[in-house]
């Protein structure tokens, strides 16, 4: 059995009188695809926001490789290798696709002022390597022909893929995808599934997924958590979930 990379227990998030997330626990193993499903408004995205530091959870613990990360600011958590995409695509729309990818590498670049002002060889090399790395991933997500187009002008499915590529620029260990298949056609969803598989198998990335497309979720997940009204309802392998009467009642519906 592989190592646990992310361990969440008793996670709660309270907004005033509303308990949006109540006692959610996750146990994510390395190189797995773990999905979170549940009805709209169940608190899935709130869990994501707590995990990535956009919200300070009201209680509970989040451990990344055994290290407590709850309450850290978002950029620090991202630097520890936990990056996410957003439900509504958040690209830098006025910048080209390749520039979007360069920004995500900011931390890995030569950001010394003097080096940049005088274009030292090390600065040039760092910029060139960043460009090559961006090119490599554009190739991977099949966007290399659109590298110099402004991100806002790309088709929706392309924007989704670009956002994933942008996350990969930060060399993450956990990639959190918030409804990546929303708004994609069946073909694009199929490509996405393949891409997620490649990320896991070739790039050693653990993927945490929120998704409503059950076909996608059931076919790629190693483990599924079901959340209903902020509380955990069930968890298990896709087969367990598919046959769990509570889940069918609350979310999947009778076939």
């Amino acid at each position: 059995m592989s190592r646990t990379i992310l361990e969440v227990s008793g996670l709660s998030m309270r907004f005033g009188g509303l308990l949006a997330v109540n006692g959610v626990g996750l146990n994510v193993k390395e190189k797995q695809v773990v999905s979170m499903i549940g009805p709209n408004g169940a608190g899935k995205t709130t869990v994501f926001n707590c995990l990535t530091g956009f919200y300070q959870p009201s209680s509970g613990s989040i451990r990344l490789n055994g290290e407590a990360i709850e309450g850290l600011p978002g950029h620090k958590i991202a630097r520890k290798g936990v990056v996410r995409t957003f439900q509504n695509v958040r690209l830098f729309k006025d910048m080209t696709a390749v520039e979007n990818l360069l920004i995500a590498q900011h931390r890995h670049l030569n950001t010394s002022y003097l080096a940049g002002l005088f274009k030292t060889p090390s600065f040039r090399r760092s910029e060139r390597e960043a460009m090559d790395f961006a090119g490599y991933w554009l190739e991977k997500v099949n966007l290399v022909d659109f590298a110099n187009r402004e991100a806002g002008t790309l088709a929706y499915g392309q924007q989704r893929r670009l956002e994933i590529a942008r996350c990969m620029m930060t060399r993450p260990s956990i990639l959190m995808l918030d409804e990546p298949a929303a708004g994609l056609n069946p073909r694009e969803t199929e490509d996405l599934k393949e891409l997620i598989g490649v990320l896991r198998d070739e790039h050693n990335v653990t993927v945490l997924l929120i998704e409503h497309d059950m076909k996608l979720v059931m076919s790629i997940s190693d483990h599924i958590y079901v959340i209903n009204q902020g509380t955990p309802l069930a968890d298990g392998t896709p087969d367990d979930i598919r046959n769990n009467p509570d889940v069918i009642k609350a979310y999947l519906g009778e076939a």
Binding site: H75, A78, R90, V98, H106, A147
Partner: protein, 423 residues
Amino acid sequence: MSTAITKNLKSAIFSALLVLIISYPVLGLKLSTVGISLRVEGATAFELWCIGGAATLIFLWQLLRDRLTPAWAKLPKLPSGSGEIGNFLTLPSTQRWIILAMVMVALVWPFFASRGSVDIATLILIYVMLGLGLNIVVGLAGLLDLGYVGFYAVGAYSYAILAHYFGLGFWLCLPLAGMMAALFGFLLGFPVLRLRGDYLAIVTLGFGEIIRILLRNLTELTGGPNGLSIANENKPTLFGLSFERRVPADMPTFHGYFEIAYNSQYKVIFLYLIALLLVLLTLFLVNRLLRMPIGRAWEALREDEIACRALGLNPTVIKLSAFTIGASLAGFAGSFFAARQGLVTPESFTFIESAMILAIVVLGGMGSQLGVILAAIVMVMLQEMRELSEYRMLIFGLVMIFMMIWRPQGLLPMQRPHLELKR
């Protein structure tokens, strides 16, 4: 149809009345001093006719607007509105050539120009520098800073204090003033940069005023409202040669060294050339920054702060760097301003200066460097039009309104230097 006419009639009467109400006191009444009292002079018949005529014109225009607008639309469009020329002018490569040509002209021109115009050009260059500095903060990083003049003041006073109390020269004080302003930018930026938009604007506005009021009230250090003057021996020198007429006996002077007669024109041209040098350095700096990771990060942050955080960029550090670099440029400009004036007083650093610099940035087109240069020229010229000084603010307002209508994105909006993936 008839309802449209009545609707137009109402707005026409209202507009005509508005013209009367506003223009009569502005143009029709004059205050003149007679001895120690004021006398109100009424308007001449001619002025009254003009006001009446203007009101009638507005009345007719508002009434017939719907019919005139289609006719107006048929007229050929201004080329600047949209089209090849405008597009061409805003390309980064074109801008670079234009700037290069302007630099050549700017280098040669002062030797043939009058003293007064070189002096105004120096002032323009100061505003170009300020505009370019604020452009980093507002145009690139998207932080609305209304207290920019505070850093300008810090720069000016740093030089004045160092020169006054420690007898340091300009060239030593220039970097010190820049560093001092940067330090202030860093310290002030730290607590306020977690604020956004309007809140940031108000807090920075407050900081600008606090700095000015502090300078006015720290009388022992800053001389209070009287300000500090800078002795001739501490003014800018050319490798130690002074351009002043009266200096201490042991100090070499420019005219003495070259054995020519003293001429105050030399000093004016010299100051102009220093300003030009500073502006060129600033331009170089801004151009490099734009193409560095930090410049890209500023723009990314302006577009989407949440996405930046999710990618591991620290927003506070990035904003702080923009704020600090912008402040240090204001500091350089401030110390040069002090050198040119020979005297700094708190009244040079009022809010209206901040507004002027911000207007230059917005008028020029946020983020665009050539735009800032053009706008600085326009704004300083407007300010220096002595014949029209009474109507300056009126013209100012008109320019702003026309800009909003015709070019809301600024004179020459920025086109970013895109990085390309080469294959």
